[in-house]
Symmetry: C2
Subunit: 342 residues, 2 copies
């Protein structure tokens, strides 16, 4: 979808990926299929382009640094480094004074008990790296359970987080351009099934002061990271303290699944905003012309396309992936409704 | 833009073109660059796809027929044959009982005088084939002028048309699916500069009965041609007779420049409608969520992109063509305005 947005603006797109199945190759002029540590291929790739971005925060930091020495990588490799490690990310957020759940690093089994004590039970154990869509995380109810989980992660460093009693999960899609201009789409309410995003709703139906707080946090993070491009920020709306307040769950240095509705309900999608930002263009408006509910099509959900098409207010997107594995994001649709005035 | 719409729905796209500069290759998975009469290349191309369409009515009829014997070509080669020859097209329209300007065939110089007499002066002389954007046509004020013009066309068969005194040029974008379902976008008012479309406006600002008449003509033509896909139909709003009435100017068996605003102002663009139709999918809604003015960027107009981007209600499209020749369509933009209620 980034490649399509770039083509719409007249840019030529060169995809670099080590994967077997690369849907983006279908909509880009040039493809290099090579490993993240293939310096020859990376050098040739960098020589062929003017600016480089990523759509996936698990690009190895050395790969990003190698490329950035040759052509600008946007968002910067430092934003990538901060967000691809849950510990670094949480320490960065804490340093920014942003409210988040209690967390503790666990380097080895002897640190499990202290960590669980500090964050409380139930706790969520997560690997420091390579987690998304619930991969590399588990909820534990006891210290014994935590020990078993730690083993299952293969002994890698993990973090423990306090379990949050939340009323809602929300997110915002925030963009910043090379000149420091920002553009934020309004807050989104998200539903997850089995840790995977299922539906995103705008309007989010949350109090205006919470939406405004989310926005201020977005502006702050964009500035602190000297960010260029689109960022997704996920929040819990915590209810434990009797009043609702925001806790940042995680930040993603890329376009975000919860912003896909912008393709159908906005003049400028999150994908076009990202391309404009990394290419040094000004950002566009973020207003929407419809209420919207985006729903992911996971695995065999995609087989329902005929049924979806029969709905007149539905815009369908299919990703062209070759195999519909369970839980795999195969496409999405957005249901559009008349704009509610607030 | 067709390739992009197809990719959005998960289809894989294979482009066949004899051209040097093929912008669509940047947004499609596969490209064959070969001549229209290369039967080996055409055979391989047909074997690799499920359905074939064209975005240009000057694909040679034998090429379309050759492909159609192997895989379905939609719209059918017969629709292509009718519309790629101005004489056949006008005779077809006349047979359908559709109002159009007086016309006469000119096979040789000895038929010039009679033809001019029958359509009157000034007259418009047009080659039967390969005309678009004012190419292959000229307005003549006298018989001597007509003789010179006939020479300049190289002696090919031409037609003479009566010169219409029109108040407006309008068009409609009409689609029909494999099951016979139709979807028509509302009438569009067009401005041309030097025979090339400059701006398209919705709403068109024409009386409701004219818009309804245009729609009825669209429905009739779709049915008469057993059409599958999107068709553009251009009309003059004639004022000579004291009251306004529609004359069909020409029909285009493809997505149409005057429908580009549907990309930004509608849930389903003309490009997606065309892809849905030729793939046997049902058509989508044609309602718009904004008033819109589309403007073509011709030649060096494209250099103004920074200025255009500064307008908050503007959606920019750049085609990625390699050279900005005078009059060449390099991109377009759509200005969006709040929907006026009628």
């Amino acid at each position: 979808m980034l490649a399509q947005a770039a083509s719409k603006l007249g840019f030529h797109v060169h995809i670099y990926s080590p994967d077997e199945d690369i849907p983006a190759a279908e909509v880009a002029g040039t493809l290099t299929r090579a490993a993240y540590d293939d310096h020859g291929a990376l050098t040739e790739f960098a020589a062929s382009v003017d600016v480089i971005t990523y759509e996936f925060e698990n690009v190895p930091a050395p790969t990003a640094a190698f490329l950035n020495a040759r052509k600008p990588v946007r968002p910067t490799p430092s934003a990538l480094a901060v967000t691809q490690d849950r510990l670094t990310e949480k320490e960065f957020l804490k340093d920014c004074g942003i409210p988040l759940t209690a967390f503790a690093l666990i380097r080895g089994p002897d640190q499990l008990e202290g960590a669980i004590e500090s964050v409380g039970l139930p706790a969520v154990l997560k690997t420091r790296r390579l987690g998304y869509d619930g991969k590399g995380q588990t909820v534990v109810e006891s210290l014994a359970h935590a020990r078993a989980a730690f083993q299952s992660f293969g002994g890698a460093e993990i973090i423990a987080e306090g379990f949050v009693d939340f009323s809602d999960e929300i997110s915002i899609i925030a963009a910043r351009d090379l000149m420091g201009g920002t553009a934020l789409y309004e807050a989104i309410r998200n539903e997850h099934h089995a840790h995977i995003l299922y539906r995103s709703h705008v309007p989010a139906g949350i109090p205006a002061e919470l939406a405004e707080h989310a926005r201020r946090i977005g502006e702050l993070l964009l500035k602190k990271l000297d960010y260029v491009g689109v960022m997704g920020i996920e929040f819990f709306v915590e209810t434990e303290t009797g009043r609702r307040r925001l806790l940042v769950n995680e930040i993603a240095p890329r376009v975000h699944n919860s912003g896909h509705w912008t393709m159908d309900a906005c003049q400028i999608s999150q994908f076009e905003q990202h391309i404009r930002a990394i290419c040094g263009w000004p950002l566009g408006p973020t207003a929407r012309h419809a209420d919207a509910v985006m729903q992911n099509l996971l695995g065999e959900d995609i087989d329902g396309w005929q049924e979806y098409l029969a709905e007149p207010n539905l815009a369908l997107h299919v990703y062209g992936k070759s195999e519909a594995r369970p839980g795999r994001k195969m496409g999405h649709f957005t249901r559009l409704y008349p704009l509610t005035k607030r």
